[in-house]
Amino acid sequence: MIRFFNTGLDYQRLAGERRPLGDVDHPGLTDLSFTIESGGFRWLTGASGAGKTTLLKLMYLALPPTSGRIELLDSDPSRLDRAGRALLRRRIGVVYQDFRLLDHLNTFDNVALPLRLARRKESQIHADVTELLRWVGLADRLTHRPEELSGGEQQRVAICRAVVGRPSLLLADEPTGNLDDEQAVRLLHLFMSLNQLGTTVIIASHNLSLIERYRAPVLELQHGRLVYHG
């Protein structure tokens, strides 16, 4: 379960700056309250700059809220210590808008990273990672480094890294941006099947045709405020 209680994020306050009086239209998020049930699926929509990425950052614990509070997978991150937050992050898979792959690692090692952090057995890691990469059509790219891959291939690597640990919560920031329609549909199937296995999935996207095709509740942001949820 994910719950936001009057949650806000003020980038200027986060940077320690004082906002001039009367400046209402500040960047960030303002007064968000909503609940996403465990195992739910949400589209996160809104124009560019509306705050989609910022909201996902709060959810994957890259930023702490500057007002209100959040509850993630039944715990309040602000009340956990650093090690506790690290363990909570391991239960959250993230597909970043800019992939964030490690340049010096090959495809296999990038995808294996979450499993190695969790100290899984190498034999298990090998089986899981190769199977997943084969499934997304990257079986012949295992030893390639990110710079040797196309944008779409990098995106698939990033997605594999996010889902390989079977996270309780999967967050994806414009994950189909670099994919053709066929690949996008394939990946949505992957997200759907994870969702059916119990993973809560939230996908930020402005691909309306995709949203039309896979009807699910929508969180819509506008200027950092939640304008529609349902």
Binding site: L61, L102, A139
Partner: protein
């Protein structure tokens, strides 16, 4: 592509995965060089300290109870009518004293060896033109009151006779060794502080360079120690290498110093027994030195790196 092929070019080798990319980066040569220079200095300071302590011990061996009696013009007769020399008369008087033992005159050869460092070989050949006094050594009560009584008695037999006690020398030597030890300790502290700050700078540079990778791994749920430990291990390796190199570089210098020091010793010493004897005489501590320096440097590197990384990670949520 079949399964066997995937196994054949198994993408992750046998080596431990290196997500932060520490191994890929070239060594921080500056770090290794500075740590090597610092451990070179540390080795010199420690060896200097060791050498002064053991030389002082050597010189002081019994000096506290030792009396040195110098008889000027030793071979002259006590009186015009007598055939007894001044030194023999003094020797006889000293041997009658029950409070003194081990009374003996130094032979010209011994005297020569004692003075060799100051006068060179000329001292033993007698070609210096310097009139050497006769020197008698004895063990006994070296307190001032006893020495004063003795001095009066001896001067009646051979005017001009001087008594040196080990006590004053011992006190001065002790002060000297203590201040040298304090300087050595200060040098070691400074050297350790310089090494630690260079490690700090190197670690911060390394973090800045790998900021993106550290960020990503943190985001994937790495604990702070998962990130700090590989850094600490890598820096410990490099600092240890520097410590070992510096310690090894110091060895020849230390052996050379040891050889010089051996020349000052009273007893025929390593210097007379060739290089092999000299090497065997080198204290174990000296041979252990490079290893000790390697371990200490590695430990400093490990501790500073770990603390620096843990502090830096506080920037991340």
């Amino acid at each position: 592509m079949g399964g066997s092929c995937i196994m054949a070019d198994r993408p992750s080798g046998r080596a431990r995965p290196d997500p932060i990319g520490l191994r890929a980066a070239s060594h921080d040569r500056l770090l290794i060089a500075v740590v090597a220079a610092m451990s070179f200095l540390a080795a010199l300071a420690m060896a200097g300290n060791l050498a002064t302590t053991s030389l002082a011990d050597h010189w002081l061996g019994g000096a506290r109870n030792m009396l040195t009696i110098e008889v000027p013009d030793p071979t002259a007769a006590v009186q015009a009518s007598s055939s007894v020399t001044r030194i023999d008369a003094v020797l006889a008087a000293l041997r009658q004293r029950p409070t003194l033992s081990a009374v003996r005159a130094l032979s010209p050869a011994e005297l020569g060896r004692l003075l060799k460092p100051w006068l060179g070989d000329a001292s033993s050949s007698g070609g210096t033109g310097i009139a050497l006094p006769g020197v008698i050594i004895a063990q006994g009560d070296a307190r001032a009151s006893a020495v004063a009584g003795l001095s009066t008695g001896l001067n009646q037999i051979a005017p001009g006779t001087l008594i040196e006690t080990g006590g004053g020398l011992a006190a001065r030597l002790t002060t000297l060794t203590e201040s040298l030890q304090a300087s050595a300790a200060a040098i070691l502290l400074i050297v350790a502080a310089v090494a630690a700050s260079v490690v700090g700078v190197s670690v911060r540079a390394g973090l800045a360079q790998r900021r993106e990778a550290v960020d990503i791994i943190h985001g994937l749920g790495a604990r702070d120690s998962d990130i700090a430990s590989p850094f600490a291990r890598e820096i410990a390796r490099q600092a240890g290498l520097g410590g070992l190199l510096g310690g090894l570089a110091a060895l020849p210098v230390l052996l050379w110093l040891g050889r010089l020091a051996a020349g000052f010793a009273l007893v025929p010493h390593a210097a007379d027994r060739g290089v092999a004897g000299m090497l065997m005489d080198v204290p174990v501590l000296l041979w252990a030195g490079p290893v000790v320096l390697m371990l200490v440097a590695a430990l400093i590197g490990w501790g500073v790196a770990r603390t620096t990384v843990l502090g830096w990670l506080r920037h991340l949520a």
